[in-house]
Symmetry: C2
Subunit: 267 residues, 2 copies
Amino acid sequence: MTTFFDRLADRIADIDSIVSVGLDPDTDRLPEAVRDADLPRWEFNRRIIDATHEHAAVFKPNAAFYEDSDGWQALEKTVEHAQEKGVPVLLDAKRADIGNTSRQYAKVLDSVDAITLNPFLGRDALAPFLDREEAGCFLLCRTSNPGGADVQELELADGNLVYERVADLASEWNTNDNVGLVVGATTPEELRAVRERVPDLPFLVPGVGAQGGDAEAAATHATAENGAGLVNSTRGIIFSGEDSESAFDEAAGDAAKDLKERLNQYR
Amino acid sequence: MTTFFDRLADRIADIDSIVSVGLDPDTDRLPEAVRDADLPRWEFNRRIIDATHEHAAVFKPNAAFYEDSDGWQALEKTVEHAQEKGVPVLLDAKRADIGNTSRQYAKVLDSVDAITLNPFLGRDALAPFLDREEAGCFLLCRTSNPGGADVQELELADGNLVYERVADLASEWNTNDNVGLVVGATTPEELRAVRERVPDLPFLVPGVGAQGGDAEAAATHATAENGAGLVNSTRGIIFSGEDSESAFDEAAGDAAKDLKERLNQYR
């Protein structure tokens, strides 16, 4: 069996890109060109995928933007279309629950290739995901928001910070070579320190686009020894047409290509 | 404006019950009587609500069991029906994300009365929920699963454990009187200790039914000084008909009443 991270490393090598294209079709921001479609979010995503897939190591839809009846239909079609284009799908769900509820959430891995998870509930809560050897599991470690420090940077009795311990736990839990970490680019020193701590865990680094994170640090540290790792941009790609005279999908394609090239300077 | 916890305290006093009835319509376990319905999960929930609402301080659907197109329709109908019966709805979603994604998730509070949240991403991640003065926000503190200890019981440099600090943070973040905690009944000493630490925060205590938690500790400590607090059972109520000759909804009504009376011995 090929692990998700092996497949991801192959794709990154094939297209020379570590760009994760976030697919958050905020219904308040959809361009006029798709608003009259039957499923506007699906029409938007379809055109974004068609325009950006050559530069996309993965597509990363965030579950928050699909949580209604039409939304789940749009998400299903989006996942299928991305995969038909040969691009794996990482569902940004930040899920964690316990027992049979966690098993229920994990069924989504029948469709998507990888998922983001929240480590606060511990190993057994994540087991239904971690047990899927073919799937990728990115655990939140140090998030890119200012308040991320509230819990993640508490100092432990042994001198480590909580997010450092989470990185160590993620390593322990990586018995199937399917665990990665989410580490924000808004804290480049922390990004470097976590990379040194867990050289074999691929990172998903958000915060490079609208959040203003450090592209150099992100590109330098995202990738693990196995060649897998991702730097995500969402609004900086999919809504780049708002400030442009090009069609929204054309603008998104250009933005994805630009980010790929910017990151490749540092890889 | 009446806060969620004021409304909850009133309902608890009215019906003399702190029972939260979990609505997790696992499609693998639905009784034959509903399997041919257009929306089996909605038909199941409708009959459970009709049979249990007199004993239900809240209904607590877990989002995991509704994450598909039909599921969201079933959830919408379930929320409306519960509220028509006068019962508030607590969506067990354990959500946390950042920035505009968190704002997107928080829109669900237009429909439901309260929600469970994961504190790992910090205050600003939860702000779109905490800013809703009329809503109830239950933050995970010490969960009822064994692995809950992996992160929640790490010892901090100041001698506190992570979950104790989370309880303190929840108190700090409670500027709108709308914050409660999720504290498992599988650890009764911890439940008592958290109650002493934050006497004014209502608890949602899971783990009393299928998970075998301590009903006495749960009933004794769930309720805050303001009279609000909940003890949840899900499978022990909604699937009690599996071991019974009664109709599934009748069995659920009996189980909810039994739990109410068992908990009331200790209140």
